[in-house]
Each structure stands twice: as structure tokens, then as C-alpha cells.
């Protein structure tokens, strides 16, 4: 061999201790810990089992929506329709189970299918119609919300008893929404890191043309991506409606921004190619902890929005500054 190989490091690889590496990759986690410590110092009510479970429950819907949005954001897209699709799916479930009298398992399957279908329509507009994702999903935001209103005639519909247990607890303590959130998070992590489609999402978000020329069927993978986002939105909608025992046509309005914020706080980039399930999870927890803490601290309603804004900025700032420090 004429050429030396790749052992060119004169400097010893200089690996950081694993903990540092892990922290380095989960900057949002540091912010979450700081926030939690601050809150437990400020309020005696924060660090109790019940309250932490509450935070989990309160994070669940946003987290599930955000997991779905993670797929989309990794491909460099955006999905503004998740909140509306969640509401539509829940309304469809409640309506088919009560007004149309279908058995609840069938109704649930139909509701999930509706979420999936919304995602597929988004994807078709984006992949084949070449619409910017912002526009396609903004259109779906209106369409899904409108359909939810049309179907429900604007009034909430009671959820079938059986499904509503999704909002309860297992035993005395473990809330089902938390369990569902963890399962969806695990599924997201596995899809992203272990499956063909997951890896393809990163490639598409990193460089769509390079992905295409490497033989990835970009359009098909986009279908899968947005379909997953729609499906996750349906799950989130069902969990939300179960917590309230009632499907609301106006449920989850505006949640799209929270979901996207959770993903971005979790370290993903809106220009694509980056993002992880765990980061998104932490992002959703930060938002939930923040809201919970502000309630516990009795911060006035008007100031809450200011404080939330400041803390979100600080949390991400902490992350970027720390990362710059390392480099």
C-alpha cells in the first residue's frame, strides 16, 4: 500500500468522559434540571410525587404531538396541522362511537386512520404537489379544524367510557397518558435510530438531492414521515379527549407551536437533518414544568406569558452558550 491509512491523529483522540458526551448532546436536559432545581427551591409543592406525575400528564399531549413533529422536522419540513388533526381524530372517535353507534375499538381504528389520512394528504401536497410544507400543513390546519367543527356541530361530544380510561391511572398512581407518552417516545426513538425510514429522514433533511441520488425514494419517505406525524397527532388527540372525557372541536388549538418548540428546544434544527426523540421529550417536559411551576408559584396570569418567553429563551441560550464553550 502506498498510502497511509486513517490513523493520523497526533493528538490522542481526546475523548471526553461519556457523561460529558451525553450531556453535550442533551443540552436541553441541563436546562430542565436547572429549571427543576430552581422550582423545588422556590416552591415546596413542586418536588412531590403527585406533582411530578401531574407534570408528566400535562406534558403527555404536547410530547406525543412533538414526537410526530420530530420526524417532520428532521426531514427539514414543518407540520402546523398536528393540533387540528388531533382534535379531528378525537371528534371522529367520539362521533362514530356515540352518534354512529360503532363499537369503540372500531371507532378508535377509524380515528387513527383519519389522522394517518390527514398526514398522507399533507405529504401528497408536499411531495407531489411541491407545496412548501408550511403552506400545505397550514391549509390542513384549517381543513381539519373545520371538519372537526362540522362533524361535531361545534359542540363537545362525550367520549366512550372505555376509551376514556386512557385518561385515568393504572392502579392508584400511574397515569395512563404518561405511559402512552413513554411508549410513543420509545417508538419514535426506535424508528429514528434503527429503521430504514428513520435514517432516510435524516438524509433527506441533511441534503435532499444527495439522498435522492443515493437511491432513497424521497417522495415515499416523505409520505411515511407525514403519515407518522398524523398518526401521532391522532393518538395525542385521543389521549387529550380521554383526559377530558369529552372530544372538543377546539381542542389542542395552537398546540402546533408548542410541539415545534419542544422539538427545537430538544436540539433539532428547522433546517433539517438533526433531532432526537429524547431531546424532544426533554423539550416537552421543559414546557410542562414551566407552566406547572408558574401555577405553583402563583405568578400572575399576565406575567406568565412574559416569564414563559424569558425562560424558553434562557433555556435554549444556556444550551447554545454551553455548546460554544466546548468548541
Amino acid at each position: 500500500m502506498l498510502v497511509s491509512t486513517n490513523v493520523l491523529q497526533r493528538k490522542p483522540p481526546g475523548r471526553k468522559p461519556p457523561a460529558a458526551v451525553w450531556l453535550g448532546e442533551n443540552g436541553a436536559l441541563v436546562a430542565l434540571v436547572v429549571l427543576a432545581v430552581a422550582l423545588s427551591l422556590l416552591s415546596g409543592d413542586f418536588l412531590t410525587v403527585t406533582n411530578l406525575l401531574n407534570v408528566g400528564v400535562q406534558a403527555a399531549v404536547t410530547a406525543i404531538l412533538a414526537f410526530g413533529a420530530t420526524f417532520v422536522i428532521i426531514t427539514g419540513g414543518i407540520d402546523l396541522s398536528v393540533g387540528s388533526v388531533a382534535a379531528l381524530s378525537a371528534i371522529v372517535l367520539a362521533w362514530t362511537a356515540t352518534d354512529a353507534g360503532l363499537p369503540w375499538p372500531l371507532a378508535t381504528v377509524i380515528a387513527l386512520a383519519v389522522g394517518l389520512a390527514c398526514g398522507l394528504v399533507n405529504a401528497a401536497l408536499i411531495a407531489y404537489g411541491k407545496l412548501p410544507p408550511f403552506i400545505a400543513t397550514l391549509a390542513m390546519l384549517g381543513i381539519a379544524r373545520g371538519l372537526a367543527l362540522v362533524i361535531s356541530q361545534g359542540s363537545p361530544i362525550a367520549m366512550p367510557e372505555a376509551v376514556s380510561h386512557l385518561g385515568d391511572t393504572i392502579g392508584d398512581y400511574l397515569p395512563v397518558p404518561v405511559v402512552v407518552m413513554l411508549i410513543m417516545g420509545l417508538i419514535t426513538a426506535v424508528i429514528l435510530s434503527r429503521t430504514y425510514s428513520g435514517r432516510a429522514m435524516y438524509a433527506i433533511g441533511g441534503n435532499e438531492e444527495a439522498a435522492r441520488l443515493s437511491g432513497i425514494n424521497v417522495n415515499r419517505q416523505k409520505l411515511i414521515t407525514y403519515a407518522l406525524a398524523g398518526l401521532f397527532a391522532a393518538v395525542a388527540g385521543i389521549v387529550l379527549a380521554s383526559r377530558l372525557a369529552s372530544a372538543q372541536p377546539q381542542a389542542a388549538a395552537g398546540y402546533e407551536l408548542d410541539a415545534i418548540a419542544a422539538v427545537v428546544i430538544g436540539g433539532a434544527s428547522l433546517s433539517g437533518g438533526k433531532g432526537r426523540a429524547f431531546g424532544t421529550f426533554v423539550g416537552a417536559l421543559i414546557l410542562a414544568v414551566l407552566r406547572n411551576g408558574l401555577n405553583l408559584l402563583s405568578v400572575s396570569a399576565f406575567w406568565q406569558q412574559v416569564v414563559i418567553g424569558v425562560v424558553i429563551a434562557l433555556a435554549v441560550l444556556l444550551d447554545t452558550l454551553r455548546r460554544r464553550g466546548t468548541n
Binding site: 400528564v57 383526559r243 372525557a245 369529552s246 377546539q250 401555577n295 400572575s300 406568565q304
Partner: protein
């Protein structure tokens, strides 16, 4: 500052902590409601924490849960939605914390007391008032609130039922303006284009009514009669000025005040009435002076 936690100055009522979740503070009506509650809390010397659910039923559930973990002695809920408030109230029930519902009822769970004025009744009253002002004939446009919210639903329903009693009055257009003054202005402007003959407007809140007043300009209150809902300070001013003909006043401050009184009693374990009805009243030029002061 707009401090929502009005600390008790005196220890008269002991260390009673009350939590109150308001459906939204986006709307002066609920700001009034909060003010009534806060003033009463201050007067009685109890600590009151107010949170804003931002019209989001699930956020409201979260807030009630959070109140429970803060061991509030009683909770006041101003439901975003009557049905969706059920599970939240159940959660409080489990922690044995009494709940007072204010402005809207709670379905699917029992509350210690409901302090409300009936939106459906209000809608009917609005229909009567508008009909009276219009001489029981003419064409009416309705400005609807955010589709799918209970206030929009109930007021709309009440109005539709009420207006049926007047065969010479036709509802020619119903369009959403999302409880928002700007949208009220834009939508009314557009409706005037397609229905030039409108002589009456019912807006499901005062904000939209004031938008309609703007849209109609000199005609407002004269050729075109406008009835709003809520009796907010801006609304009352407009009635005095004659641009708004009437509003259905719910006395939000009174609602807030009654709710706090009920909550304190409940916290002390006293017996309280299951319902307190705060009357709705049609405010018009004749009686506006009574309300403007409050």
C-alpha cells in the same frame, strides 16, 4: 401591577388559600370577573391565586391539578367548556377540595356551588331587546364567537330561539368574528356589502359589537340597531354614546365576588346553596347609568 395573588392582610379568615382558573383573560369580561373575585378576596383577607387557561380545556385541567397539589382550600373554576371541566373537578374531588363553578356549569361532576348567569337566557333576552329596538321587524345579522366555544354556542342558541317569536324579523347572515373587535369590524363591513338592508345586529360579545359599531359608522345605533353581550366598560360607554343600543350585562364582577364568597364558606366547611343565580340584565340607554358606576 396586576398581581393576581392578593395577599390577605388580616389573618381573619385564617390561612385560607383559594385557587381560581379563569377560562381566558383575553376578554375584558373575564378580566372584570377576576377583578370582582380579587377585590372580594382582599376584602375578606384570603389569598387568591388566579390562573388563565387561555381558552384551552386541557390546560385548565392542568391548572386544577396544580391547585390540588398546592393544597388549596377551595377552587373556583370558570370552565372553558362545561363538559371538559368534569374530569378536572373530579380530580379535585378526589383530594376533597370543594369546587365552585362560576359563569358556566360543570357537567359530569358535582360542584359545591354554581354561580352563573345563563348564557342561553341571555341570548333570548338579547333577541327580545333587539326586536324591541327594531320595532319587531327588519333584517338581522349575527356576529358569532369562536366556533365551538360554549359561549358562542349558548348565546347563539338562545338568540335563535328568542328571535323566532318575531316573524317579521329575518336573520339574513350569521358569520364568525371570533369574539374579536377587529374581526367584528371586518366581517360587519363585508356583511354590509352583501346585505345592505340590515337594520339589526346581534354580536355574541361586546368586543364584536364595538367592531360592528365602527363598521357601521354614523348608522350605528340609529338606522342599524346593535345589541352586544357582556356589558363591558367599553360597551357601556358606547351605550351612553348611543352607538350601541343594548348589551346583555352579566355583571361579571358580581359573579367573581359571589364565587369567592361561596368558596370561603365552602373552605370553612359551611353549608352553601347549590346554585347562585346572578341575574342577566339588558342594559340600554335608559338604565345604563346604574351599571356604569359599578
Amino acid at each position: 401591577g396586576s398581581g393576581s395573588s392578593s395577599g390577605g392582610s388580616g389573618a381573619a379568615a385564617g390561612d385560607i388559600k383559594l385557587g381560581m382558573s379563569v377560562s381566558t383573560l383575553n376578554n375584558p369580561y373575564f378580566v372584570q370577573l377576576r377583578k370582582g373575585a380579587e377585590d372580594e378576596a382582599k376584602k375578606q383577607g384570603v389569598a387568591l391565586t388566579v390562573t388563565d387557561a387561555q381558552n384551552d380545556a386541557s390546560q385548565q385541567v392542568n391548572q386544577i391539578q396544580n391547585f390540588a397539589s398546592q393544597s388549596m382550600k377551595a377552587i373556583i373554576i370558570n370552565p372553558v367548556d362545561s363538559d371538559a371541566a368534569g374530569p378536572a373537578v373530579k380530580a379535585a374531588e378526589r383530594s376533597k377540595i370543594p369546587v365552585i363553578a362560576v359563569d358556566r356549569v360543570v357537567n359530569g361532576a358535582t360542584v359545591a356551588q354554581t354561580v352563573a348567569s345563563d348564557n342561553v337566557a341571555g341570548g333570548k333576552l338579547a333577541a327580545q331587546e333587539l326586536a324591541k329596538q327594531m320595532g319587531e321587524k327588519g333584517k338581522v345579522a349575527v356576529l358569532q364567537g369562536v366556533p365551538g366555544t360554549s359561549a358562542a354556542r349558548d348565546r347563539g342558541q338562545g338568540f335563535t330561539e328568542g328571535i323566532k317569536a318575531y316573524p317579521d324579523i329575518q336573520v339574513v347572515a350569521q358569520q364568525p368574528a371570533d369574539f374579536d373587535r377587529t374581526k367584528g369590524l371586518d366581517v360587519m363591513t363585508n356583511l354590509v356589502q352583501s346585505n345592505p338592508g340590515i337594520t339589526g345586529v346581534f354580536a355574541e360579545n361586546d368586543e364584536m359589537a364595538l367592531g360592528a359599531v365602527k363598521a357601521l359608522g354614523a348608522k350605528a345605533g340609529k338606522e342599524v340597531k346593535i345589541v352586544g353581550f357582556d356589558g363591558t366598560p367599553d360597551g357601556l360607554t358606547a351605550i351612553q354614546a348611543g352607538t350601541l343600543n343594548a348589551s346583555i350585562a352579566q355583571q361579571p364582577q358580581l359573579l367573581g365576588q359571589q364565587a369567592v364568597q361561596g368558596a370561603i364558606k365552602a373552605a370553612k366547611g359551611e353549608k352553601i346553596e347549590a346554585t347562585v343565580a346572578v341575574p342577566v340584565k339588558a342594559v340600554n340607554k335608559d338604565n345604563v347609568a346604574e351599571f356604569a358606576g359599578s
